[in-house]
Amino acid sequence: MNSKRDLVAGISFFVFGASILYSLSNMHVNPGVNLVYLTHYIIPNYVCSVIFGWRAYDTLGECLVLVVAVMVSWIIFGKSLYDNTYLKELFKAPESDDYITLHGWGEYTPIIKFLAFPASVFMVALGIVTILGGHITPGGGFQGGALIASALILSVVAFGSKSPLWFDHKYLEKLEAIGALTYLLLGVVGMFIGGYYLFIFTSVGNLPIFPAPKEIVTAGIIPYLNIAVGLKVLAGLSTAAFLLSCEKVIIERIEKSEEILNK
């Protein structure tokens, strides 16, 4: 029985893979709309001009994927559940032998601590530069935000709960919301100024929206969109890391939601 099933799965996998490879073997790439992206100038960084200029609305969607994923992670760990008996059982179960705690693990050597802190400070600085210079140099909001979040994770891994670099989870939630709302509302402002959602306006009245030297074409709202995405990515990834490492806060949350449910 089982071997027949394996056989059927194997054959269908083979047919599926062969058909995909066959269609790949006849590839003729048509440059198409990419020529338009290369010949019409918005900002010096072409990748950034596609992401935040031509296809800014897709970027909004991609960010919202991250926002929703973080919200759902919060729900998995007990935020606003209609019934949390199962989760309570799970968290109050006695620890088994393969369960790694800080006591069982011990602390890292001073060498790691000595290196981790300066490294994470530099990573935060590099992340900020990457976010702010996204429209003229390689990089942008996603990359910078991920750099800052990984600095936080590095520091938390090295120092545990005494980490010198630490964001409170409520602060992170607000940061993420600010990032997402900035992006959404900048688009609405563009709609009132230019008539289209996410219109790249370069000035309001006579005031340039992003000051730049005269030789460089001003980037309009793109740097602000970069900052919004950076905030959101940094908050989202840090929250995910935080949820995986902070059992205490989750148990507190479960108890608090119990009070509401039993009222």
Partner: protein
């Protein structure tokens, strides 16, 4: 100025604000009622035609940015989506916990399904496809049981595979045509290129996952059956309209091309298989929610078959059936939610609810007759149109299967009605029933949905007259010899 994007942007902004209001129950409650009213107004503020984001219109003969396309057909779909979403939001406020995350995720889901229906750009469609698959799992997790966690995880694993295959398909189409805009792309896929065919194949995988057609029907059924009743109502609405949006895109791109006939047969087969599998599995179930969930799959098969026929009448019938289906199936799920307040959803333990809540029983009976295709309810009108469309292209076997599946639906629905409302029970159970209340807001929503069932059953043309113009544009008339 064209306010079309506000259909998506307004719910997204409100969703992010609602996320911050955790624990402030009164504000959540009143703000939700306000949002529920505004949602119904939203589909009327846009203008018909193409909308280019950021003003990046046609440059050098290519649509350079992201485009939306709005027309009366999409407006009707969005109005129905908004009505169901706001009724479900109102019902959700009848729970003891005024849940802000439920509101957030429902609004996110509304926005992404609306974006998928409106999208005229394949990658934009994919982005919102990703959001909706995470949102559905989040809504499932809200019920917090062990089964919910397990089936959510399974749905996510399947989703990873299906959505990445679909992304690969979009990459194939982008590579061989050089654009993502659907209106533009149609001009570059006329020739029979294996790469385009591979892209189409992979798009069909995404379609089956997003709308719960076989082979993905099991994960979808678990998704509906493990959620709370009113959340299942919104979940099945999402998947029906994902199906409609996806099929509209596939038809717009490929309908009428010579090499589409093979895929055409595959789509028809998927629809027929979903119809038959759904109803056969539903006859076996002893859990009321699971029974309803399998019927949701079966009805999705009707919608897919109608749309896959590809004729103007088939497209109209498919979309009309999708609209009718979300109305009566949401009513049934709300009925299941009201019953679960009394005593679970196990059919063998329930019974004797008719004297306790006669009005609810009557409304649920109306919805059950509608799903079985009995006149004068709306299900009859759309199933009638579907059978006509199948006969028009000379495929009487599909019409026959539809009628047999309808009979199966009727049998299992009447079985469930007997076991829940009519079966005699002892005194103690009746006392237990009387000690538990009925969620009043759910009864209100149920009333509105049932009256919509009857109105659409008597006057179907208030919906169908908006569908024909775009369906004539997409459809190709043909007849098998």
């Amino acid at each position: 100025m064209n306010y079309l994007p506000m259909i998506i942007i307004f719910p997204l902004i409100m969703a992010i604000i609602m996320n911050l209001l955790h624990g402030k129950e009164n504000i959540v409650k009143y703000l939700t009622f306000l949002i529920a009213i505004i949602l119904i107004i939203l589909p009327f503020i846009g203008q018909y035609g193409y909308y280019y984001f950021g003003g990046f219109g046609v440059i050098d003969g290519w649509v350079s940015g992201i485009a939306y396309y709005y027309n009366p057909l999409k407006q009707v779909v969005l109005v129905v989506l908004a009505i169901i979403a706001s009724l479900v939001l109102i019902t959700g406020m009848g729970e003891k916990l005024k849940n802000n995350m439920f509101v957030t995720l429902s609004l996110m889901g509304f926005a992404s399904v609306a974006a998928m229906v409106l999208a005229d750009d394949l990658f934009n469609f994919y982005v919102f496809f990703e959001i909706i698959s995470i949102v559905q799992v989040g809504l499932l997790f809200l019920s917090g049981t062990e089964e919910a966690y397990k089936s959510g995880l399974r749905y996510m694993i399947m989703g990873n595979i299906a959505a990445s295959l679909m992304l690969l398909g979009i990459a194939f189409l982008l590579a061989s045509t050089g654009t993502l805009n659907i209106t533009d792309m149609k001009n570059y896929i006329l020739s029979d290129n294996p790469m385009i065919f591979g892209g189409l194949l992979l798009l069909v995988v995404g379609l089956a996952y997003g709308s719960g057609l076989p082979p993905f029907h099991n994960v979808k059924v678990d998704l509906y059956a493990r959620s709370k009743g009113f959340i299942s109502a919104i979940l099945q609405t999402y998947s029906k309209f994902i199906l409609v949006g996806f099929m509209l895109i596939i038809l717009k791109l490929f309908n009428g091309l010579s090499y589409f006939s093979g895929t055409h047969a595959v789509l028809l087969a998927l629809g027929v298989l979903a119809m038959v599998f759904g109803v056969v599995m539903a006859l076996l179930q002893s859990d009321y929610k699971k029974l309803l969930s399998y019927h949701a799959i079966s009805q999705a098969g009707y919608v897919a078959t109608g749309l896959a026929l590809g004729t103007p009448l088939g497209i109209v019938a498919g979309i009309f059936h999708a609209i009718n289906h979300v109305i009566y199936k949401s009513a049934l799920f709300l009925g299941a939610y009201i019953v679960s307040h009394k005593k679970g959803s196990d059919l063998h333990k329930l019974g004797g609810l008719l004297p306790i809540m006669p009005s609810v029983a009557f409304m649920v009976l109306c919805a059950k007759l509608a799903i079985s295709g009995v006149p004068p309810f709306n299900g009859f009108q759309s199933k009638w149109m579907l059978a006509q469309a199948a006969m028009q292209v000379n495929m009487p076997e599909i019409a026959i299967i539809m009628i047999i599946v309808s009979i199966g639906t009727f049998v299992s629905m009447m079985k469930a009605f007997y076991l829940i409302y009519l079966k005699p029970v002892d005194e103690e159970t009746i006392k237990e029933y009387q000690s538990r209340g009925v969620p009043k807001l759910a009864v209100f929503s149920l009333f509105i949905l049932t009256s919509l069932c009857i109105i659409l059953g008597i006057y179907p043309e208030i919906v169908t007259k908006y569908l024909f113009s775009y369906a004539n544009e997409l459809g190709v008339s043909y007849c098998l010899k």
